[in-house]
């Protein structure tokens, strides 16, 4: 309500993601963004939905996504990052590995690794994640449930299994453990900020 967005609409994407963030600069149709693959920030693997796009339905994918349009329904990007741009208007439950919100979201947000609310964000819904970063100025209405790190007990079991194997014992099946991203996993889209609780 008191938030004004005009000044954010023309911000370069770099500013929206933090100065040190590797950026999804390969975004067509936007001025001031490098399309040069030699640029160290170039990320061709980030899909982009522009601000004029309106989508209704279940949106799912297996790659990182920058979403600046409107979505109504559901968003499922397990194991990948989702950035909701300043023009993003989401009325959906969101599930991704990392979720960075600049725009407006109405729905529950589940970030397997991290959820980040930027200062321009407006979120009405519940958050479930392992780590959360909230910038001063963000508007949030809902509940925050910090999940315990699921990787730790798995890692312990794996370590115990490895120890048993080295001792000649049976090694249980541990497939899928490596897919779990713990706090130490690097998140290429948004490095920790001073607001990161785990850094305090």
């Amino acid at each position: 309500m008191w938030k004004t967005r005009k000044e954010e609409e023309d911000q370069p994407l770099n500013a929206l993601l933090g100065q040190q963030s590797p950026l999804p600069t390969a975004i067509p149709g936007r001025e001031g963004r490098s399309m040069d693959p030699k640029n160290e920030n170039f990320r061709a693997d980030v899909a982009h939905i522009g601000k004029s796009v309106v989508f209704k339905g279940e949106l799912s994918g297996s790659e990182d996504l920058y979403l600046d349009g409107e979505v109504e329904g559901g968003i499922e990007l397990r194991g990948h990052s989702l950035i909701i741009g300043p023009n993003g208007r989401i009325r959906a439950n969101v599930h991704a590995r990392d979720v960075v919100i600049h725009g407006k979201v109405e729905g529950n947000v589940r970030g397997a690794d991290r959820v980040e609310l930027k200062k321009s964000s407006i979120l009405t819904g519940d958050i479930s994640t392992q780590r959360i970063v909230i910038e001063d100025g963000a508007f949030f209405k809902g509940a925050i449930d910090i999940q315990k790190d699921a990787a730790k007990p798995e890692a312990k079991r794996e370590a115990a299994a490895a120890a048993a194997a080295s001792a000649g014992g049976f090694t249980p099946h541990t497939s899928g453990v490596s897919r779990i991203s713990g706090p130490s996993a690097s998140t290429p889209l948004s490095p920790p900020t001073p607001h990161d609780h785990n850094k305090k």
Binding site: I134, A138, F139, G142, A143, H195
Partner: protein, 223 residues
């Protein structure tokens, strides 16, 4: 800047005065809070089995509060009711040209929680800035949402604070220390006397006042 500082000193004069002078919107001043200390103790005592408690913060979204409370393993609910009350859609124009606050719609859209969900509520000084018609429904709604034995921390200005007392956001710095940051410009609606506060929370089982010399009464209420 000088007038802002004066406002701060008028607001926080005395033993609990802030440790810093300047008070721009981004700067914060720290203040010890006996009420918060007691609140923290009550929450810890009620949590014998180290369970995850549900705590409702009625102030503006505070990263510090969320970090502090989730760091203790609790589940945090955040709802800025004061900001919600300023929604222009809640103002209904009557035939005679006057506008009336749509209490029914506000109640339908805000503070909608199941009964006995919360173990604790941080109310801060929200009642002082809310429209008159909202204060009692707010307290009743919180009463319903609080568990028996649940605690509520609220702040009330004294008359000495004056009608132009600035609105501050409260950030928890530690178990007994708050950081205050100038918030949006809300106007103090009224000053509650102790008797009014007791009446407001008459459905609760106990109420405890913490007096300070900074024109604020801290109140810890037990459901």
């Amino acid at each position: 800047m000088g007038s802002v500082s004066n406002t701060f000193f008028r607001f926080f004069g005395g033993a609990s005065a802030p440790s810093e002078i300047s008070a721009s919107s981004s700067q914060r001043v720290s203040r010890r809070s006996s009420g918060l200390n007691e609140f923290t103790r009550a929450v810890c005592e009620s949590n014998n089995q180290d369970e995850s408690l549900c705590i409702l913060d009625l102030g503006p979204t505070s990263p510090a509060n969320i970090a502090h409370l989730t760091g203790l393993g609790h589940k945090v609910y955040n709802e800025d009711v004061l900001q919600a009350s300023t929604d222009p859609a809640l103002s209904v124009n009557m035939e005679d040209g006057t506008s009336v606050f749509d209490l029914k719609r506000f109640a339908a859209e805000n503070l909608v929680y199941e009964a006995a969900l919360f173990d604790a509520v941080l109310c801060w000084d929200v009642p002082d800035y809310l429209p008159e018609t909202l204060v009692k429904p707010l307290v009743e709604r919180i009463h319903r949402a609080l568990k028996p034995g649940g605690v509520l921390l609220a702040f009330f200005h004294t008359r000495d604070a004056g009608p132009d007392a600035a609105y501050y956001r409260y950030h928890i710095a530690s178990k007994d220390t708050l950081e205050l940051q100038r918030g949006p410009q809300f106007r103090l609606q009224r000053v509650f006397q102790n008797r009014h506060i007791e009446n407001l929370f008459r459905d609760y089982s106990s109420i405890k006042f913490f007096l300070s010399r900074d024109h604020i009464r801290e109140v810890l209420v037990v459901r």
